[in-house]
């Protein structure tokens, strides 16, 4: 190669067209899917020892799942036209499939959440309070029904699988962005989502939950497992890129390898995976706050890097585009707003259904048999 220097004098900067709203959406919907998966043993498989953790995971699934579509809608530049998705048949577009999967998933999630929490609604309906009637109404006159939970669990699992599939593939099919165009991306989204959900469970355990030590230890073990999967995917991706075995992965790596900012991000990402992994394995008790916060942060960072970072790589121009986080709704306000919505949903849900007190062995207090006359008011 001759000694050539190319200096770009005039070119266009293409702004990031997927905004921080998109980061929030992929983060929240991922955590919701992760929450569903973590809740299944305790509820759908009726393993009572998993119930306390499953309950927190269910709260993660519900609060994140309900906040996510708001972020998604806000990422459309014409949100009022969202119905345009539903009057066409566009099977070549993964986003179009997503517009079908999201309501299916959210619908199934609400049904599953209700089926799981029905027992608690019913129990609240038996307490002498002014709201007892409302609780009984919400419980639709019944308590725990494991068959219903299992059936709804199957539905929500199918919905979660479709959402995990579409959110990953939607981005991975974009051949124009080598960083996105990898079969690892859907797996990376899923594994980081699981880690993030486990992290949020650990945080909720210390805040709205009962600071249950067994939940913490189990949550940390799950987190370590998810982080191991994250490292495996990341390692394979890196190896494919470095070894040059696959031209696409080599191109992806090459597109960012020269950038100092990207190297810092990479080191940061590795640290935010390895550190909580080591802590979760070595000291699973008493560290839930720390590992949880790092894990949630790292799941968010991954999406920020993929979406916002990925869009700063020009497709034709030299170097990188600058990205400055705007303060308004397209930036900071969007991030804070979605976080606020999530917090509101959390407060709402945990006010309506406060964490039940549990006997020391972690099993449920026995409930009266189905159909018992309920004294109230």
């Amino acid at each position: 190669m001759m000694d050539t220097q190319i200096l770009e004098v005039i070119n266009v900067t293409r702004e990031a067209a997927w905004l921080p709203w998109a980061v929030q959406y992929f983060f929240l919907i991922g955590l919701s899917v992760g929450g569903v998966l973590l809740s299944l043993p305790g509820y759908a498989f009726a393993r009572d020892g998993w119930r306390p953790l499953g309950r927190l995971a269910l709260i993660v699934a519900l609060t994140c799942g309900l906040a996510a579509p708001v972020a998604l809608l806000s990422d459309l530049h014409q949100p009022g036209r969202f119905w345009h998705f539903y009057v066409v048949f566009r099977p070549t577009s993964w986003m179009w499939w997503g517009s079908l999967f999201i309501p299916l998933y959210i619908g199934a999630l609400l049904l599953y959440g209700w089926a799981c929490l029905r027992e608690e609604l019913w129990a609240h309906g038996r307490i002498d309070s002014r709201l007892a009637g409302l609780y009984r109404l919400a419980a639709l006159g019944g308590g725990r029904n494991d068959r219903l939970i299992r059936a709804a669990g199957l539905l929500v699992l199918a919905g979660a699988a479709l959402v995990a599939l579409y959110t990953g593939v939607e981005v991975a099919v974009v051949k124009a962005r080598p960083l996105w165009h990898t079969p690892f991306l859907p797996l990376q989204f899923l594994t980081t989502a699981l880690a993030g959900a486990a992290g949020l469970v650990l945080i909720l355990n210390r805040t709205v939950g009962g600071a249950d030590r067994r939940v913490e230890v189990r949550g940390n073990r799950l987190l370590a497992g998810a982080l191991a999967a994250v490292m495996l995917c990341g390692g394979l991706w890196l190896w494919l890129g470095l070894s040059g075995l696959d031209a696409g992965h080599a191109a992806a790596l090459e597109s960012v390898a020269g950038s100092e900012a990207w190297r810092v991000t990479a080191v940061w990402a590795v640290a935010a995976t390895v550190v909580p992994f080591v802590i979760a394995i070595g000291w699973p008790a008493g560290t839930g706050w720390l590992t949880g916060l790092i894990a949630v942060h790292s799941a968010w960072m991954f999406r920020w890097t993929v979406f916002i970072g990925g869009q700063t790589v020009p497709k034709t121009g030299a170097g990188f585009y600058d990205y400055a986080l705007p303060a308004g709704p397209d930036g900071l306000l969007g991030i804070v707003g979605t976080a606020g919505l999530w917090l509101f949903l959390l407060i709402l849900l945990t006010s309506v259904l406060p964490t039940p007190h549990r006997p020391a062995d972690g099993r449920r207090a026995p409930l009266p048999p189905h159909g018992t006359a309920v004294p109230a008011e």
Binding site: Q5, V12, H77, V87, W94, A176, T316, A324
Partner: protein, 258 residues
């Protein structure tokens, strides 16, 4: 070249006028589409033509007259561009020179921006021109991601996807695209690939033009004569000294720093 451009005007006019049933709307904010409008099959254009452009980069003087003409013709918002002449300083063995590369939508034969569109707002007319119906587009920007050429952007007046349309409204009226009409160096040649006698057909046949990023399999219908391979894909160089950018100045309306 000039003669061919004029020939195009005279020859194509009669055939094209009235043939189009759907012209891409210019970039004004438009009301939401009707159900019928959204669901309708989107075609338009005359299948007897296949419009294309040949850019002879050796003739481009980098004056950006095309950039400005496009902005005026299509009411492109401030700091957004449907076409721009990327300009590079190339230093080789202590000798510095300029390299100009006019960029625009390639109106690809196999455009990756179309299959991803969840609403069908982006479509290809039967004459090959790729357009966006901005009364249907939801502004999801999936197409912006999918285009390998950074040819698309979100127009913040209409809040929908925007890009070069080959000046479809002019073509349908038998006129040349504004950038071609105004090109000082005669570097941009526009015409019909289905007409073997057209200037673009002849150039494609005889001048062995190249396309950008051929490995993407998009089959661009904007060809380049004198395309330096170092500029065929993502340019490996020092990023620009000056890029139009508004994101520091504006808050909401100024999402763009295109």
């Amino acid at each position: 070249m000039d003669r061919s451009r004029r020939n195009f005007c005279l020859g194509a006019g009669a055939a094209a006028v009235g043939a189009a049933t759907l012209a891409a709307a210019p970039s004004d904010a438009a009301p939401s589409g009707t159900v019928a409008g959204v669901a309708a099959a989107r075609t338009g254009g005359d299948p007897a033509h296949r419009w294309a452009m040949v850019v002879d980069v050796r003739k481009c003087v980098g004056c950006q007259a095309c950039t400005v003409a496009c902005i005026m013709e299509n009411d492109v918002p401030e700091n957004s561009f449907r076409t721009i002449v990327s300009t590079y300083e190339v230093t080789e063995q202590d000798k510095a020179g300029s390299y100009m590369l006019p960029r625009l939508c390639n109106h690809c034969e196999d455009p990756p921006c179309i299959p991803v569109c969840p609403t069908g707002a982006t479509f290809q007319r039967t004459d090959g021109i790729v357009v966006v119906d901005n009364t249907v587009c939801v502004g999801c920007a999936y197409c912006v991601q999918a285009c390998p050429y950074d040819a698309r952007f979100i127009n913040h007046n209409s809040q929908t996807a925007d890009k070069c349309t080959f000046c479809v409204h002019r073509v349908d009226a038998g006129l040349l695209p504004a950038c071609v009409e105004t090109c000082v160096g005669g570097a941009r040649v526009f015409g019909d690939l289905k007409d073997p006698a057209s200037a673009v057909s002849r150039l494609v046949r005889e001048a062995d033009p190249k396309v950008l990023k051929p490995e993407q399999g998009t089959q661009p219908r904007v060809f380049y004569i004198g395309l330096d391979p170092r500029f065929q894909g993502k340019v490996d160089g020092t990023p620009t000294l000056w890029r139009p950018s508004a994101h520091t100045e504006r808050s909401h309306a100024g999402k763009e720093h295109a």
